[in-house]
Amino acid sequence: MQELRWIWLIARKDLSLEFRAAGRLLSMIAFVVLAGFLFGFALDNSQVSGRAVVASLIWLTVLFASTAGAGRIFDMEEEDGAFRHVLLTPVSRRAVFLGKTVANLVLTWLITALSFVALTSFLGVRSSGSLAAHAAIFLPGTIGLSATATFFGRMSRHSTLGDSLLPVLTFPLLAPVVFFGATASARVFMALPWDEISGLVRLLWAFAIGSVTVGAVLFHQLTDE
């Protein structure tokens, strides 16, 4: 119970900071909308249909925007050395990791929803499948993405390479998430039966559970000197 309280407290604090530093969130929203706008222009509709690529573009936009956001959550902690004081409280490192993952997840959901709306609008695509089916794919995909980005977001803060290290560390690991997620989402856009999608969703759940578990177990290695 105490652990859940800590997780909630850290997630709520991170989200409060994120929403109050509105400039950061606005830049992320601007990135998503502009990406959708540019993809709409860059695609030659006479050669490639929007329906064929929209799922991949949504997943890539979510990947880029959420990975950039993961590092920022630790930047806020380092502004005046606050993280040092958090780690000196009895809070478990597991709760810190999970709290930050939850905060990242909420922001990733916002990005995902916005990307979905922006890209389907700019590419002029209407999904033949239901929104519930899309949500069932994005849920495990974004959990795995957020947990991985949170873990490596902290790791990149230990390095002099900083932000430039984060994509190098995370993108190879997240390639399966993007592949399985984009494939599953594309099948929903084409209204294929759930039987042809459920296997991919199970893989996304396996990745999500694995990344959350590994992050929670190993996070103390990134915080304790």
Binding site: K13, S16, D80, L88, P90, D224, E225
Partner: protein
Amino acid sequence: MTLEGRGIVCNYGAVRALAGVDVRAAGREILAIVGPNGAGKTTLLKVLSGERRPDSGEVVLDGCPVSGSDAAWRARIGLVSHRTGLYEKLTVTENLRFFATLHGVARNGRTLTATLEAVGAGGLATRRIEALSRGQRQRVALARSLLHAPEVLFLDEPFTGLDPEGAAALERALATRRDEGTVVVLVTHDLRRGLRLADRVVVLRRGRKVFDGEAIEEGAGEILDRFTAGAGGP
């Protein structure tokens, strides 16, 4: 209550930051660790607080080893550093509630106000940290460190950037904690202030302890001046 560091050795790569330092801080006294920049003061404080594992040696409280990985130990300590460690976009009350909850202590508005007033920060409760002066922030940081009534209070250059009024308030707060039985460990490069505040002084130089004695010993100031040449301070 007695906190001891025994034979502490710490290395940063090939650089030896602490070379077998023994240090002892007892309740009802303020221990000042002084020395020039790079002497190993902050490293020693981090080892004592459990933030950093020593390469060799141990930290014991009343004879029992303590470690930063032990949540029960972290619940018993407080820290004030030159970086306030407060969230700028949150209000004073939100900051204090956040840390109080992490420490597992319930603090209602009245208690928070009383804690703030005790450190001369009454009236700041609803203001965001980003709107406060350096001195006000440091008082809030002190209030945060006292919320859970720590048995051991660590201070890492807490006077940096404080105005005289803020420094005086911090000194009064430390004296109160000392009188209430708290072990107070103060790291400072400000030799004069260290001598004035502390009951005992440890001087570090290049990772080695070069003086350990009563701050009021006759001639202590001259001895310390000699050992900390180049340390600065008024």
